[in-house]
Amino acid sequence: MTPHIRLEQVSYRYGHHEALRDVTLSLPHPRIYGLLGRNGAGKSTLLSLLASYDEPDTGKVQIDGEAPFENARIMPQVVFAHQTDYSSESDKVVELLEAAARYRPSFDMAYAEQLAARFKLPLKTRASGLSSGKQSALNAILALAARAPVTILDETYVGMDAPAREIFYQEVLADYERHPRTIILSTHLVSEMDYLFEEVVILHDGRVLLHEPIDRLLERGASITGPAAQVEAFAQPLRQLSSQQLGGTRSVMIYGELSDEQRRQAAALGLELGQVSLQELFIHLTEEEDAR
């Protein structure tokens, strides 16, 4: 049973900096979530609250109906992979896997070894001697093999080369199919990972800017390209995120669903309607928010 995650008006401060402000979210299970946000948006803070690394200043975090902080039933059900400094770690990779297997109720050692082979991670090497990419692979293995009902991967790809990242994405999907659970992927590599997400949460300045299923989100974004005057007139009542002009041709990115009537009108005007990527939406939605 994968637990449902709820956050109600959660706020968190680091000294004078308000990292999270009145965050309210409901994350049904099982699902793969993409957690997006610019640097300092509050992603890691939010994830650390789910992992019981800390508790909110105000508001409620609930997993399976209970506050996870210091909860002996909930804490083992959440695994949080984040960048880890292994420089003073004296244990070998295999020892770290064995330690995780001792504490994690669902840890699958055979799967961990299989992943280590895929990532070409030497089991007998001390973790401190691994390159940053291999250390990230170790973090990914520890998180995926834990098979925790809530699996949180916070920029786990850092330092991995492109083939290793591809293996990581494949394994996230494959293991999710075998063991459906809540997987939260926090990332800056939006264009590379967007196909993994079922739902997207965008945080901006500590607030939830958007939480949508990815298909609905992508349906809401569109690019309109054509003669500048027609594009301007057509897009004028719509929510515009960005615009570009080259000679007499203008391209406008809009956010909001277009009705069938509007689509017919665009076709009649000779305007080209195109899809917008998640990365483009993310960039322009957060820019728009900054401009407010």
């Binding site: 890691s44 650390s48 992992a51 019981s52 690394y53 800390d54 508790e55 902080f69 210091e70 909860n71 002996a72 804490m75 083992p76 059900q77 959440v78 695994v79 949080f80 984040h82 960048q83 880890t84 400094d85 330690a99 995780a100 001792r102 504490y103 994690r104 109720p105 925790a148």
Partner: protein, 238 residues
């Protein structure tokens, strides 16, 4: 794994890990003890028992283990889904078991070496007659462990300046404790300046009926402090 089994597993893991490190310490002290007998003719050194040899490095070793208990074990265990309460119990009990093991090993080696080495007028360990020093050694090493834990916890939770303050407070506490332990001769050398006049005096050690309950009380207070400090401690992402 239910919470009770989990706590048991963590106590076992922490104890075994720290015991493996303690074995290096014991080996080093044994080498030093025999090295002194081979290369020194100083009668005061030659007449000191193995218990006297182990109490100082043992205490410093326990202090270091205590220091590492927050940065080393807390983040790792919470990352594995272990509660702070279980971590606290694990560290407190494993420290106790480790101190017990180290004291027992010291006592056994002390008895063994006394049997092997004849013709020596052994000085009373820490000024105590017979084996009365053993419970004091146990208490001293565990207190050093708790003090190290408190310093490590203060640095981790509150930062550098409060951490440095906690070192100053710990030194003051150790000076206070030195009045309760032996004749003061066997506290680690960082305190010997203060203890010079006591070391040269002919004072008898503090009676166990006073020192042991007092040391136990300090240990209980430190344990309570550590529970308060770690109860809701924020885990740093590193």
């Amino acid at each position: 794994m239910n919470p009770t089994h989990r706590t048991g597993a963590i106590i076992k893991d922490l104890t075994l890990t720290q015991l493996s490190w303690a074995s290096y310490l014991l080996f080093g002290v044994i080498l030093f003890f025999w090295g002194v007998r081979l290369f020194t003719s100083d009668p005061e050194m030659l007449n000191r028992t193995f218990l006297d040899f182990i109490v100082q490095p043992g205490s410093v070793f326990m202090l270091i283990l205590g220091l590492l208990s927050v940065s080393g074990f807390l983040t790792f265990l919470v990352k594995q889904g272990v509660t702070r309460r279980t971590y606290y119990t694990g560290v407190a009990v494993s420290g106790l078991l480790l101190t017990l093991a180290l004291t027992a090993a010291g006592l056994l080696l002390h008895l063994l070496f006394r049997t092997l080495i004849s013709g020596v007028e052994w000085l009373p360990p820490m000024g105590y007659e017979g084996l009365a020093a053993v419970p004091v050694i146990f208490a001293q090493m565990y207190l050093f462990y708790l003090i190290g834990w408190a310093i490590g916890g203060t640095f981790y939770r509150f930062g550098v300046v409060p951490g440095l303050l906690s070192i100053a407070c710990s030194l003051a506490l150790l000076m206070g404790l030195s009045y309760l332990i032996g004749t003061g001769n066997d506290l680690p050398s960082l305190l010997t300046d203060r203890l010079d006049n006591r070391a040269s005096s002919d004072r008898s050690p503090v009676p166990l009926s006073i020192s042991l309950p007092s040391l136990a009380l300090v240990a209980v207070l430190l344990l309570a402090l550590m529970r308060l400090m770690t109860k809701r401690i924020r885990i740093k992402i590193k």
